[in-house]
Point group: C3
Chain length 141, copies 3
């Protein structure tokens, strides 16, 4: 009984420490990219930037990456941007989530069938980036 | 007395947990937007983006939003940009803080009376966004 | 012995608190700026923005600042941009780290000797900004 009393505080300390130090399962780094520009340098450099970032973080615990497309940037994720299908599909095949903003889809009259088949959707692109930052993701624009 | 000794570690654990899990009062989500561009798409889409974000977060604990105006973006918050007064006033009426950077005001010779009456002011727009991020706000540019 | 049993939970609580409240040594505020634009307003306003930010944070615990140069922004940190050497050197002399992205250097065939002598280097500019955000730095673009 005396022993129990002595161990209890140590247990409390350990549990407190465990609560602080616990990390989410999966890759160590998590990054959300914003793609809101019309066609131009932001589109042509996206795949290079994401690939370089993932390569750099690969030896350091790995990374989970999302790209949020909204505003004029939504068009990059539609079938009308055929030149970008292959580099975007390669990102998707590596596990990068490519997400269209439904608000932008409504405003620009883009239907689900207009998007590349590997595109995901979120209710609001900005709200998605807010939630990710709150969950500890880094934000890059 | 023995009972007290047994309860004390549990209390320590509980207090430790409470210290970790306590959240600030008010809305669950907090977002600071940067508006530093000259007149163009960034101006015309600002109200839509803020409104969509707040609507999306309304069902999820609500949001507190600030927009920081500096650089060429400061002009959007001045009476010379009459076309933007109504949408900005509507944001202000919803509780969105619209803040002019005093460094930008000095550099561009903008006086308090040149700003829309609902505009607030901060010493440095960038320092404001730094402090907000440090306080757990999401940052959107 | 009884006394020890009573003190142990208090110690556990104190250690838990200390673990939560400990802050890194050095300035209170830490900011990483992104400079990825071609020559234009982003270049000409950089030193003003960094200086104003540091001035504003000086009375509030001080700041540590980094600027990450990549994409078309890398050129600002090369000797070919002679007009920017003096303002950038002044930032460097104040302790601001000016960092070139090695991925951008490879892509744009920029050698170490092409950079201003006060320039530092990082493997990936974006990965650097990710790591800084993860370490609690504010991010400004």
């Amino acid at each position: 009984m005396k022993k129990t009393l002595l161990l209890a505080p140590a247990l409390a300390l350990f549990l407190g420490y465990a609560a602080i130090s616990q990390t989410p399962a999966g890759p160590r780094h998590r990054v959300v990219f914003q793609l809101s520009e019309p066609e131009g340098p932001a589109w042509s450099s996206l795949a290079v930037h994401v690939n370089n970032t993932m390569k750099s973080l690969a030896d350091d615990g790995g990374s989970q990456v999302e790209v949020v497309f909204y505003g004029p940037g939504l068009s990059m994720l539609t079938k009308s941007s055929a030149a970008y299908e292959e580099p975007l599909k390669q990102l998707s095949d590596k596990g990068v989530k490519l997400l269209a903003c439904r608000n932008a889809m409504k405003m620009r009259n883009v239907k689900t069938e207009d998007l590349f088949p590997f595109a995901g959707q979120v209710d609001s692109g900005i709200a998605e980036m807010v939630r990710k930052q709150e969950a500890g993701w880094a934000y890059i624009h």
